[in-house]
Symmetry: C2
Subunit: 591 residues, 2 copies
C-alpha cells in the first residue's frame, strides 16, 4: 500500500514518486494551497495539495486531525526559506497527485501535542501511543528485550516457557487464582515468578535458562506496581555467585550500551548489605547522591541526653548523622517538614544542628538539641562527620534498622530536593544479605530473600544455632537507587532445604503439600545452581527516563488494577460462574 | 565449577586437565577399574577411575545412576580397540584425579534409557527432560523462537506484550476467569488470543507487531490441546493479504531451513477453501497424500438408486468418489472397518467398488452397490475417476459438507494406512473462506474466522444480501495437513464492524458492552491492517517429529488439565476465597 515511510523521505528521493500512508498530524491552508503533515512511526513529512489537483484538493479539504490517509505524489525540494534542518524530511515536500482518505477521525478527546491526564491517556491508549513519546518508549522496550535475547542466545541460554496456570507459589504476596471447571472446588494460581520451574529446569539438565516471563502479584498497588509485570528470569547450573554476577553484569552493560548508548562502570562496585545499611540506610543505595550516614554513637555515649546515649550504648541501637553541605540554607520550615517526612519511615523525631558560623562555637549553631550536648560530644560529632561552615547535620537515634531506614529516606529526600543527584549512572551489587529476619508479630523467622536461597554456612546445625546472624548467598543488582535485579545461589541439597523450611516454621506436612515435588526433585542428583531475575518494566522506564513504569507498558492497569480502556475486570454471566463451580460472595455493605 | 562440557571433550584436549560436571549415565566396574559415563546437555564422556586413586575410587564406588558429579582429570586417547566413532568424545577418555559427589540420587522411578508411560514422565518431568530426546525437543523449540525473533526483528517488527489479565475475549471458546479482590464480584479473563490488542496497536501507530504470546482456552481437551498454548501473533498496518502472506511465507521457509535444515516450496501452493473441500474434503488438506476426491454426480443423476441420484440432483448435495490404487488388496473386513470409521464423521454408509478384473466388466467387480448402477453410470464413474485394475473406489453421497468431511477423513485414513504419505513437506495457503456459516441450532450466522475479519465485499448492503455466499479476506497456512497458522485482513471501518456484529446477531447494546472500546478506536482514523497467528507448539512438534505437542512443552498438562508434577489445580484455603469474594459451589453429587 505504500512505497516509503513518511519520516524517511529525504532529498535523495527528489523527483521520484512516492506513496505514503499515515495520519494527518496537521492541516494548514495557506495561500490557496493545503499543507498536510503526514505522520507515521518514522516521523513527519510535509505534503502539498495544490488547487489544480481538484480531486486531491477536495479530499484534502475534508481532512481533520488524525485522519488516516494514503497520499501519492512527487518529492521536490522546499524553497530555501522553508527548509527545516531539525527534520530528516525538512528539505523536501511531497506534491500530492492523489489523496485517499483511508479512514476519517471523529473530533479527538485530546490534542495530540498535549499530554492529557493519565486517566484520559489510558482510556484512549490507542491515541496516546500514537504520540512520539509513547512510540519511543515502547520501541526502547522492544529494543531492550531484543538485545537481552541477542546476548543470551549467543551464550547458549535456552528460552523456555513455564506454566501460567500453575500451583500457588511461595513468594509471599497474594496469588491470583483461576477456578478449574474440570476439577470442582480446585484452583490454579498465576505465578508470582517461575522460581521453582526454573530450578527444576536446572535439575532437568537444561544447564542455562532464561525467559522474559509474565508474573502476577495481587498486592495493593503503589505507583510503581502492576498486577502483572515482566521479569527477565535466568538460571544457571553448576555455578557460584560470581559466575552469575559476571555474566549478567556484562549483559547489563551490553544493554545500556546498545539501547541507550550509556557506558556503565566495569566492574560494578560491590557492597555488603551491612555496609549499605550503615553508609546509606538502604539495601538499594542511590550512589549518585554523595552523602553518607556516619555513626556518632562513640561521641554521645556519655551524654545525659537519653535520646542519644540510650541507643548509643545499646548493641541493637544506632546514632547516625547525615552531614549536608550548604544545608544551613534551609529554613526552619524546611527542617520541620523533613521531620514530618521521616516520621512516615518510623522516626520519632529528627534532631539537627545548623552550623551558621563555625568560628563562634556554640553561639554559631542553631539546633533544638545542642543544649543537651556537652562540648566533648559536639567536638566528637564534628570530627566524626568533618563538619564545616554552612552544613546542617541531621541525627537519627534509636533501634538500628529503624534509624537506618529513616535516615536513608532522609538522605534520598535531601539529595533530590537540593539537586545533589549526580547526572550519571550508578550500578552496584549488594551482597551478603541476612538469611532470616525475625518477625515479631508472627513470632517466627521469615526469609529475607526466598526459602530456596542457600545460606553461606554449609552446616545445618551451625545454621540453626546462628539463624539471625547467618547470611545468604543472595545478591541484588541496584541501579540509581532501584533494585533492578535480585538473585541467589539456591539450595540443592534436600536436607538443607528441609532445614530451611523447618526454620521458617513450615511443618513437614505443609512442606510436603506445597513443595513435595521440589523436595522429590532434589533427591535425584540436583546440581548446584543459581540465578537472578531482572525487572523489565523498571529497566525500561530507567532507559526511557520516565518515573512511571506505565509509560513502558502498552496497556497498563491503574492503581486499582483496572484497565480503563477495556473496563476489565467486569461482571460475568451467572452461568459462567456455575460452570466454574463458584458463586460471588460479596462483602456485606456497611449499614 | 567446570572447565569444559562433557560432550565436547575430544582429542584436541589430549594431555590436558579438564574439570567436568554432569550426571552419572552409567557406571561399569571392569578389571578393577571403574568407568563412569558422565553426561551433560552436550553429551557423554567416558571417565576412568583407577584403583590407585584411592579417594576418587572410594567416591566412585558410591556412584549410582544420575548421581551429580564433578570430576577433574586428564584427557587421554583410548586404546584403538575402544574407540567409538559415533561419539564426539569416542576417541578419548578422562582419567580422574578427583571425583566429587555434588549430589546423590535415590533409586530412579524409571531407567533413563527407557521411555516410561506418559503419566510417569510428567510426574518426574525433571528426570524425563534429562533424556536426550527431550533435551533435543526443547532445544529445537528454543531455536525456533530464536529464529522467529531474528527474522522479525530484522524487519522492524516490534515485540510488544499485551495483558494476560484482561476482559473476556470473543474467540468462541470458554474463558478462564480470575476473580478480582479489589472489585468484588468482578472478574478478569485470560486471553484466548491478543486479537483486539494487536489490532489496537495498529490503530496506535505501532505499524508492525509480533509477540510470542501465551493464550488460554478452557475447552475440553483433546490429545493435541493444552489449556495454555503459545502462538506467534503478528499484525501489520497498511497491508493487503499478499503483504502478510509473502512476509510470513519467507519466515516459515527461513525457520525450517535454519532450525531443521528443510527447504520448503517457494512459493507455497495456494488453494481456495472451495477447491480444498472439493478436492480433499478438508480446509487443511494434507498434500503429501496423492489421492483426490472426484465429483461423480453427473454420472449418477439418472439412476434409480436414490442414495446417489438424490444428492446428485440436489444443489446442496454431493456424490464424491475416492479412487485408491491397489485398494483392491483390502479385505472385506478392512472395507467394513472403514465404513465404521467414516460413520464417526457423519457418514450414513460407505459405498465401494473393488475392481478385481477390469477386463471382465461387471463380473470383475465386487461391490455392495454395483447392482443398483446401470452400465452408463459405471462407465461414467470409471471415466471420471480414471478407474484401473486393482483400484477400490469409495463413494460418499449426501449433503455437500458432510460428504466432504467424511470423505476427507477417509482419504487421510486410507492414505496413512496404505503408506501413501509421501516423505516430504507440504505447505500451502488456503484462502477465500466463507464469511459466515449458518448455525441451524442457534438459528443465526456464526463467523467462520472471527468477527473482526473483513469480507471481500466492501458494500454493506451487498454483504447483508449475500451473507452465506460471501467470502472473507481470511487465510490459513497449512503444513502436512495441520493448520499451523491462520489470519485475515481486519475490518477497519466502524460501519462495517457494526454491520458484521449485526449479522452475527450481536445487538448494539451487547456490542457496546463487549467491544465498545474497539468501536471507539475505529472512529479515530484506524488504518487498514491485517495479520496472522501461528501455533508454536504444533510447529515445534512437526520440527521435532513427534505427534504430541506435550513433547515440546517443558511442563504440560494432561487431558484433564492437571499438572502431574505440581498437582495443580488444587484446593485453596477458605480465607483466600473470602478475600476474592467467591465461594465454591460444587455440583451436587448424584444420589
Amino acid at each position: 500500500m505504500r512505497s516509503h515511510n513518511c519520516g524517511l523521505v529525504d532529498e535523495s528521493l527528489i523527483g521520484q514518486t512516492v506513496t505514503l500512508c499515515g495520519w494527518a498530524n496537521t492541516r494548514r491552508d495557506h495561500g490557496g494551497v493545503i499543507f498536510i503533515d503526514l505522520r507515521d512511526h518514522e516521523g513527519l513529512v510535509q505534503t502539498v495539495i495544490e488547487p489544480d489537483n481538484q480531486a486531491g484538493f477536495k479530499a484534502a479539504e475534508s481532512v481533520r486531525y488524525e485522519f488516516c490517509l494514503r497520499i501519492t505524489g512527487t518529492v521536490r525540494a522546499r524553497p530555501a526559506s522553508q527548509v527545516n534542518e531539525r527534520l530528516r524530511t525538512g528539505k523536501i515536500e511531497v506534491v500530492a497527485e492523489t489523496v485517499e482518505v483511508l479512514n476519517a477521525a471523529a473530533p479527538l478527546p485530546f490534542m495530540m501535542d498535549d499530554t492529557p491526564g493519565e486517566d484520559v491517556r489510558l482510556k484512549y491508549r490507542y491515541l496516546d501511543i500514537r504520540r512520539p513519546f509513547m512510540q519511543k518508549a515502547l520501541r526502547i522496550r522492544t529494543k531492550l528485550t531484543q538485545e537481552i535475547r541477542r546476548f543470551l542466545d549467543a551464550r547458549g541460554f535456552q528460552d523456555i516457557e513455564t506454566p501460567i496456570l500453575t500451583k500457588a507459589t511461595p513468594e509471599g504476596a497474594r496469588d491470583y487464582l483461576v477456578p478449574s471447571r474440570v476439577h470442582p472446588g480446585e484452583f490454579y494460581a498465576l505465578p508470582q515468578s517461575p522460581q521453582l520451574f526454573k530450578q527444576l529446569l536446572m535439575m532437568a539438565g537444561m544447564d542455562r535458562y532464561y525467559q522474559i516471563a509474565r508474573c502476577f502479584r495481587d498486592e495493593d498497588l503503589r505507583a510503581d506496581r502492576q498486577p502483572e509485570f515482566t521479569q527477565l528470569d535466568m538460571e544457571f547450573a553448576f555455578v557460584e555467585e560470581r559466575d552469575v554476577q559476571d555474566t549478567v553484569e556484562d549483559m547489563i552493560r551490553h544493554l545500556f550500551r546498545t539501547v541507550v548508548d550509556v557506558e556503565l562502570a566495569n566492574p560494578f562496585p560491590r557492597m555488603t548489605y551491612a555496609d549499605a545499611m550503615r553508609r546509606y540506610g538502604s539495601d538499594k543505595p542511590d550512589l549518585r547522591i554523595d552523602l553518607e550516614l556516619i555513626d556518632v554513637a562513640e561521641a554521645v555515649k556519655h551524654v545525659e541526653f537519653k535520646v542519644f546515649s540510650g541507643p548509643a550504648k545499646d548493641p541493637g541501637g544506632r546514632v547516625a548523622c547525615l552531614r549536608v553541605p550548604n544545608g544551613a540554607e534551609m529554613t526552619r520550615k524546611q527542617l520541620d517538614d523533613l521531620g514530618l517526612y521521616v516520621a512516615k519511615y518510623g522516626a520519632k523525631g529528627l534532631a539537627w544542628i545548623r552550623i551558621d558560623d563555625l568560628s563562634k562555637g556554640r553561639e554559631g549553631l542553631t539546633s533544638p538539641i545542642v543544649k543537651f550536648l556537652d562540648d566533648q560530644a559536639i567536638d566528637g560529632i564534628f570530627k566524626a562527620v568533618g563538619a564545616q561552615q554552612g552544613d546542617v547535620l541531621f541525627f537519627g537515634a534509636g533501634p538500628y534498622k529503624i534509624v537506618s531506614d529513616f535516615m536513608g529516606a532522609l538522605r534520598l529526600k535531601v539529595g533530590k530536593d537540593m539537586g545533589l543527584v549526580a547526572n550519571r549512572w550508578a550500578p552496584l551489587w549488594v551482597t551478603d544479605f541476612p538469611m532470616f529476619e525475625y518477625d515479631d508479630e508472627a513470632k517466627r523467622y521469615v526469609a529475607l530473600h526466598h526459602p530456596f536461597t542457600v545460606p553461606k554456612i554449609d552446616d545445618i546445625a551451625d545454621l540453626k544455632a546462628n539463624a539471625l546472624t547467618s547470611v545468604s548467598r543472595g545478591y541484588d543488582c541496584v541501579l540509581n537507587g532501584n533494585e533492578i535485579g535480585g538473585g541467589s545461589i539456591r539450595i540443592h541439597r534436600p536436607d538443607m532445604q528441609s532445614a530451611v523450611f523447618d526454620l521458617l516454621g513450615i511443618s513437614t506436612e505443609e512442606a510436603e503439600l506445597k513443595f513435595g515435588f521440589l523436595l522429590d526433585a532434589l533427591k535425584y542428583g540436583a546440581p548446584p545452581h543459581g540465578g537472578i531475575a531482572f525487572g523489565i518494566d523498571r529497566i525500561s522506564a530507567l532507559m526511557v527516563g520516565t518515573e512511571s513504569i506505565r509509560d513502558v507498558i502498552a496497556f497498563p492497569k491503574t492503581a486499582s488494577a483496572t484497565c480503563l480502556m477495556t473496563s476489565a475486570p467486569s461482571v460475568v454471566p451467572e452461568q459462567q460462574l456455575q460452570e466454574l463451580h463458584i458463586r460471588v460472595a460479596k462483602p456485606e455493605k456497611k449499614a
